[in-house]
């Protein structure tokens, strides 16, 4: 039987690949409690990666989609509404399956896009991996959910603030940067915190559905399921992964809380929008 330190060495970074620990995962009776703690913990690396990349890219896209949805051009607004409806109205689980089976059909050698004098080759072989293709689905999904939140916030920007901006002669980009964007962010921040939390939770779906875990490189819940399959005992691995996610959730709440304080720093205490934990698990 391994000691705890040995399992740490063997599995604490196993989720990064075979080279970063034991080649094979522990099996059957050989599984110790420490194995479960460290291997599931190492899977969290990928949960954080999926969530961080998706949120970082999705944030910028969501602002653009929300502005499009809010615009007075009916075609632009309708297209944005359609995008939001498609990704919010269908299960993320099915979206993963759909995009994976679409990515599989892409030619392995890449797609050539002729740009007149130069031909751009888009490498498509990576899109069937969770690290690229899975993230792409998560980006699209979080873009839709966040855009809906930002759109709601855009609608409730105080009229007086916009009039003040006009009175100062602000237009276009300056007005957006100084008045619209900060207000939008401030108003939507409590719900955006929830979005970040549940996007992080939904990263557990990546390997659950279509995307394969090559070389048994997976996220925390993938390993938890592996252990339950091996030991047929759900009372250790699942509570462990739940505890990890509760910790991750608290970290997000803390971090977003700091940003929220910064966004509201000019307001008196009472009129600040507070964060409320609103579970919206299944996407």
């Amino acid at each position: 039987m391994r000691t705890c330190w040995e399992s740490f060495e063997a599995y604490a970074f196993r989720a990064l690949g075979r080279e970063f620990g034991e080649r094979l995962l522990p099996r059957g009776l050989d599984i110790t409690f420490c194995d479960q703690v460290f291997l599931i913990g190492s899977g969290l690396i990928w949960n954080v990666y999926f969530a961080a990349v998706a949120i970082a890219i999705g944030f910028g896209l969501a602002v653009a989609v929300a502005m499009a949805r809010f615009s007075e051009n009916p075609w632009l607004s309708r297209a944005a509404a359609m995008f939001i409806f498609v990704f919010r109205g269908s299960p993320l689980f099915i979206q993963f399956f759909f995009f994976y089976s679409a990515f599989v059909l892409l030619p392995r050698s890449g797609i050539d896009i002729p740009l007149g004098f130069i031909t751009l080759t888009v490498d498509t072989s990576a899109s069937t991996t969770a690290q690229v293709g899975g993230v792409l689905v998560l980006v699209l999904n979080t873009t839709a959910y966040s855009a809906e939140l930002f759109y709601g916030a855009l609608q409730s920007i105080p009229k007086g603030d916009l009039e003040a901006a006009d009175a100062y002669g602000m237009r276009g980009w300056t007005k957006f940067r100084r008045v619209i964007f900060p207000n939008m962010l401030r108003l939507s921040w409590p719900s955006y915190t929830n979005e970040a939390i549940f996007l992080t939770h939904s990263t557990t779906l990546v390997f659950l559905s279509a995307f394969p875990a090559r070389q048994q490189v997976g996220e925390a819940f993938y390993y938890a399921r592996y252990f339950v399959d091996q030991t047929f005992n759900p009372f250790v691995a699942y509570p462990l992964v739940a505890a990890y996610f509760v910790a991750l959730t608290l970290l997000i709440v803390g971090g977003y809380g700091l940003v929220g304080r910064h966004l509201n720093r000019h307001l008196p205490q009472r009129s600040r929008a507070r964060f409320r934990f609103r579970p919206q698990y299944i996407r």
Binding site: G28, V86, S90, I94, F221, P234, A242, Y281, I282
Partner: protein
């Protein structure tokens, strides 16, 4: 299905598709859509009942009930959903078998957890050994419904509890001034009026419930996801209907199915909202009153 389907290899174009889409496996696939609808139809009332019990427990003045309600609602809402969906059926199954084991085989000496196995005596197996296939399917479907009802019951309990408190307090006081007991005031004043306040929350939970149904696949049931993968995969010429990898199209169909469900339920809830707002002391109710006057 059709007469001309007896030899698929000579068919082409429209006829090929007509036969392909009505083959026996495809009929199972369409049946799986029915399974989703049945799951929704069974789970929604179950979750509503569970939520009502939870909300009543939260409201109770008897502290053990209240404490139980709080623990139930907060634990379920605080743990990632997917963990719950996989945990509840296994844990519940093992729990029931363990209880049966204790009751039916008191003189069984071997330990139940032997290494990686969970062994109970044959009399405690659920469903009993040698049961027909449909018993197994029903059993796992029942477990799925229970897991869904437990999780969504907690969400519903929270919403209903909020809705009960949103009914204007003056009305409850009026009822009590007329000499109604607490229970009577609840039945006659709170219960009929709370729904308009609960509706936005319930509609939200319903949308989440719809989107949770593909998780049936994870519980080993032959649901639409299972069939989409099965039928869409590449079929070589040893099959009667060979085709390349069509999974993308099958999942597109599922996507459209879910979008339709979402769209239709949005419409139904908007209609319900209009109906329930009728005569209510809310902004929407006031607007209806003015329009009619």
């Amino acid at each position: 299905m059709f007469g001309f389907c007896s030899d698929p290899s000579i068919l082409d174009g429209f006829n090929w598709f007509a036969c392909y889409l009505t083959s026996a496996t495809h009929l199972d696939f369409y049946g799986a859509f029915l399974l989703v609808m049945v799951l929704l139809a069974v789970t929604a009332p179950a979750a509503l009942g569970m939520g009502m019990l939870g909300a009543l427990a939260l409201r109770s003045r008897f502290w053990p009930f209240q404490g139980f309600g709080k623990i139930y609602v907060n634990i379920v809402r605080g743990v990632p959903d997917i963990v719950f969906f996989l945990f509840v059926p296994i844990a519940l199954g093992q729990g029931i078998e363990w209880l049966l084991h204790q009751a039916r085989c008191p003189d069984w000496t071997e330990p139940i957890r032997q290494g990686t196995d969970f062994l109970v005596c044959p009399e405690a197996k659920l469903p009993p050994n040698g049961s027909p296939q449909w018993m197994y399917t029903t059993y796992s479907f029942g477990m799925a419904v229970l897991a869904f009802a437990l999780v969504f019951g907690a969400f519903v309990a929270n919403t209903l509890h909020g809705a009960m408190q949103a009914v204007p307090h003056a009305q409850v006081e009026t009822a009590e001034a007329y000499g109604m007991t607490r229970a009577q005031a609840f039945r006659r004043v709170v219960l009929p009026q709370m729904w308009v306040y609960a509706l936005p929350g319930l509609s939200n939970i319903w949308q989440i419930l719809i989107k949770a149904t593909p998780l049936l696949f994870l519980l080993g049931l032959q649901d639409i996801v299972y069939w989409a993968r099965e039928l869409g995969g590449q079929k070589t010429s040893i099959f009667s209907y060979p085709h390349p990898d069509w999974r993308m199209w099958y999942f597109l169909a599922l996507l459209v199915f879910y979008l339709f469900l979402t769209w239709a339920s949005e419409r139904v809830f908007a209609w319900l909202g209009r109906r329930l707002s009728h005569g209510q002391a809310t902004a929407a109710g006031e607007r209806q009153r003015r329009a009619a006057a």
